[in-house]
């Protein structure tokens, strides 16, 4: 695209102007700060309430009298978020094994598998669409894109049936460990090939100058080598966007895991939190808040780290449609 007048450049150009603070500007700041309060108010109260006693939450105090850190310990245990079991040898006292379980651990594992799987599957596909010439390229790309239109609820049942079937097949191949249902494959494999990711990466790969490819080819590099040593190092920003989005996506997932998990072996944190809260009505609101804070923290950390590329990436996809 030739018209690449980006937002950050405009920002920089305007920052050099000395901002005149007049009445109109004050009004703008007032509205924007009101927006900030509305946007983060619920979070701040959530954090504050997570340190309160139950009666303080019920009375809607703004701040707790004492910081009850033990709320977090109780929430972790009661909601079954994290459980670390150290097995030591009874005679010598040497650490034998560490057993980690709980929803937080499950979600972490699921997220790692699905994000890395998605990268492995989507990067080559996006590269092929962006930089290779092959028969049926446009047709296949249009076919891929058309699947983005289909609402998730239509796919739910066929996915379920396919997963059950493939699970049986892989169970008879690999034994009980190969099961799909109530195991990691059902929770991750269907989301490896994300058309959105392929589209986003392709848009970026296309912009890489062709001279680089010519130069690499003269040096005797093939597509694979070019992808690995030139394209990937250049594409940190879109890859970061994809990783962040994938992380958020699998941390958020509720509908599908509700269907394909039957016990806590692999159940992710969204389901765990949802079950904890709905089983606990009206319940210990302070603990619910603490559990929510625990759920939110990893995402917030990731967001603050990847924030810049991420918002840019989202904004770009939005404009291009």
């Amino acid at each position: 695209m030739p018209s690449q007048s980006r937002d950050p450049k405009a920002t920089k150009a305007k920052k050099t102007l000395p901002p005149r603070v007049n009445r109109g500007q004050l009004a703008i700041y007032a509205v924007l700060f009101a927006g900030v309060i509305i946007a983060v108010g619920p979070f701040l109260w959530m954090i504050s309430a997570s340190f309160m006693t139950l009666s303080e939450v019920n009375l809607t105090r703004l701040l707790p009298e004492n910081l009850l850190w033990e709320n977090y310990a109780t929430a972790l245990r009661r909601a079954n978020f994290l459980d670390i079991e150290l097995t030591t040898d009874p005679t010598s006292g040497i650490l034998q094994s560490i057993g980690i379980s709980g929803y937080l651990w499950n979600s972490l594992r699921i997220t790692l598998i699905s994000v890395s799987g998605s990268l492995v599957v989507c990067i080559p596909a996006a590269y092929a669409f962006a930089r290779m010439d092959f028969i049926g390229r446009n047709f296949i790309f249009a076919l891929f894109l058309s699947t983005m239109m289909i609402p998730g609820i239509v796919m739910l049942i066929p996915h379920l049936l396919t997963v059950i079937w493939l699970g049986r097949l892989s169970e008879s191949l690999f034994g009980p460990a190969g099961a799909w249902f109530n195991n990691w494959p059902a929770l991750t494999i269907p989301f490896f090939a994300s058309v959105f990711n392929i589209f986003l990466l392709r848009q970026f790969f296309i912009q890489i100058p062709n001279d680089l490819w010519e130069a690499a080819r003269i040096d005797g590099a093939g597509h694979f080598k070019f992808l690995r040593s030139v394209v990937l190092p250049l594409s940190k920003a879109p890859i970061m966007t994809i990783v962040t989005l994938g992380f958020i996506g699998s941390w958020n997932a509720l509908m599908w895991p509700l269907l394909v998990t039957i016990n806590d072996d692999w159940r992710p944190i969204a389901v765990g939190l949802s079950n904890f809260v709905t089983a606990d009505t009206p319940g210990d609101l302070n603990l619910q808040m603490a559990a929510s804070v625990i759920t939110v923290i990893p995402i917030l950390i990731l967001y603050f780290v990847a924030q810049k590329q991420f918002t840019e990436g989202i904004a770009q996809t939005g404009i291009r449609g």
Binding site: D7, M46, I140, P151, V154, L161, W165, A270, Y303, I319
Partner: protein
């Protein structure tokens, strides 16, 4: 290094020739694509056909038996037959469109042999259907394997034996043989035409005619299915001595829709016409609209009499949800973005903060809203109300609609207060996202336009109305499309924020379908409802494209 070697060695391998390099490039590309392609075929394309197949069956966890349109009839009453009739017609209309394209291309062509490419398209389209036919005869048997091997010692041999048995079933075998024969013929014909009659347009011709063939055959299939089902329903009704006015409903509802569409067209023309004709056209369109609307009002409820009330309520909730969230979130998002675009400090900070509600896990933020909008007198939301002297509300536990709370009559009642809480939640979540995208859109408007307008003496509002808004229209279009589709898919917030006290008053169609699936295991019925939802989304997208797309200005 390699370059030297290539010149040193006189004999070149196949992959060093020009043709070889093209083959190599193709092969590499397919290798790169293979994992993604396989997964998308399995979890993206195949599910659509499969879901439709499931929806035609009684299917509880495992396939039971074929029962035609019964699931759709259960969901939509007689309207199901009417819809399927229209879908058949739509398939024919699309086919006609394809054929027109083919004819136009042929008229422009100068070589008469070019039309022989159509033969290849015809055969390929038909064979695609044969493949589908074979596949869907095989599927029920394959889907039963997990149940058959359950409990037994699962070994690969057993699984493969069962798989072999399903392939060898007589009707599967017959369809399979036909398919293989068809595939051979198709490959032969395509190779022959490609060899003898290849032209610049032959790819297009083959694809279009293949599509037309598939569409016509599926249209015939749909029409036959609909007619058989209607006849069966009529017979059943006659036996039990009831009257079943499917045909009259079909005629009246169709007439109503056609008249309304016609009124819209006339209205469009009336807007563009000169004064004299304008009035007559407007009056005429009003009249057509009135008649069409009357027909629909009279027959649609009757056609929907046997429909699933919970599903209809789900659609109604979805519509209210969309109207309550999308306009608010878009306009507030745009206003925020416009303010952020002014020369201010801390822009990056504001942008970062506004985005937070969108990226945090919905489950967690929904739970916060659940606590904030609790029914207790001292819950945060009621505290805020009491500041203004309003008495506390029951919020997420309130099944009465906001209209009733204000004492309005029934048909103006609007959404339940519990649903309003969910709307507030969604708006809160998406405003920041909309604002960030609008901000990027604003950054893409060239500054010269503003300069020019300012030189012409345009005021702030006029600049916004006549420059910013038109230039932003693609973004508005994109965001409203995303928002509406998002409404149909909303799940997490409703799952967390609904309470037993409000019953199904907050269940959108998706949530209701999910309930049917998880609690009652009705796979067939849930699939059919999902398809109705899909059709609705498609129709709305088309409608939005036509109505809004015309106003979108692409610079």
């Amino acid at each position: 290094m390699n370059r030297h070697r290539a010149t040193d060695i006189p004999r070149l391998g196949f992959f060093d020739t020009r043709r070889g390099r093209i083959v190599l490039e193709n092969l590499t590309a397919y290798v790169f694509l293979a994992p993604a392609g396989l997964l998308i075929a399995l979890f993206g394309l195949f599910p659509v056909a499969f879901a439709f197949f499931v929806s035609l069956h009684r299917w509880r966890r495992f396939p039971d038996h074929y029962n035609g349109l019964a699931n759709y009839e259960k969901a939509l009453g007689n309207l199901a037959y009417i819809l399927f009739f229209w879908f058949a017609l739509a398939a024919f209309a699309l086919a006609a469109l394809m054929i027109r394209r083919v004819l136009r291309a042929l008229r422009e062509s100068d070589s008469p042999t070019e039309s022989l490419n159509l033969l290849s398209g015809l055969v390929c389209g038909y064979v695609a259907l044969l493949v589908l036919d074979w596949f869907f005869k095989l599927i029920p048997a394959i889907m039963l394997i997990p149940r058959q091997v359950r409990g037994q010692n699962t070994s690969l041999e057993l699984f493969m034996a069962k798989l072999g048995e399903s392939f060898a079933m007589p009707e599967v075998l017959a369809a399979g043989n036909l398919m293989i024969l068809g595939l051979l013929i198709a490959i032969g014909v395509t190779a022959l035409t490609a060899w003898f009659f290849r032209s610049a347009r032959s790819n297009d011709l083959i694809v279009w005619s293949a599509f037309a063939t598939t569409l016509i055959v599926s249209g015939v299939f749909l029409l036959q299915l609909t007619l058989t089902e209607i006849r069966a329903a009529l017979d059943a009704a006659r036996e039990s001595g009831e009257a079943l006015p499917i045909w009259s409903q079909l005629v009246f509802v169709s007439a109503g829709v056609i008249l309304i569409a016609l009124a819209w067209r006339i209205f469009q023309r009336g807007i563009n016409a000169q004064e004299n004709r304008r009035f007559t056209l407007m009056a005429f369109s009003g009249l057509t609209l009135a008649v069409g609307g009357y027909l629909l009002m009279a027959e649609l409820p009757a056609a929907l009499a046997e429909a699933d009330d919970d599903l209809l309520q789900g659609f109604w909730v979805t519509v209210m949800y969309a109207f309550g969230t999308v306009p608010v979130q878009l306009s507030v998002g745009l206003a925020l973005a416009y303010l952020l675009f002014q020369p201010i400090r801390f822009r990056a900070f504001f942008r970062m903060v506004y985005f937070i509600p969108y990226i945090t896990p919905f489950v967690a933020t929904s739970i916060v809203f659940r606590v904030m909008f609790d029914a207790g007198k001292t819950a945060p939301a009621n505290r805020v109300l009491s500041l203004f002297g309003i008495e506390p509300q029951r919020w997420i536990l309130e099944r009465n609609s906001i209209g009733e709370l204000f004492g309005l009559p029934d048909f103006l009642a609007g959404p339940a207060l519990a649903l309003v809480v969910i709307m507030i939640y969604s708006t809160w979540t998406y405003i920041g996202y909309d604002a960030v995208i609008f901000l990027a859109g604003l950054g893409n408007i060239p500054g010269e336009l503003y300069e020019a307008a300012r030189i012409d003496g345009a005021s702030g509002w006029r600049i916004f109305r006549h420059i910013t808004l038109p230039m932003l229209s693609p973004t508005v279009f994109f965001l409203s499309l995303v928002a509406i589709i998002g409404t149909f898919q909303a799940f997490t917030q409703i799952w967390i924020l609904r309470t037993g006290a409000v019953g199904s008053k907050v269940n959108t169609a998706s949530v209701y379908i999910f309930d049917e699936l998880q609690n009652s295991n009705r796979y067939g019925y849930a699939s059919s409802m999902a398809f109705v939802l899909f059709a609705l989304i498609l129709l709305m997208t088309l409608f939005q494209n036509r109505v809004m797309g015309r106003r979108v200005f692409y610079a």
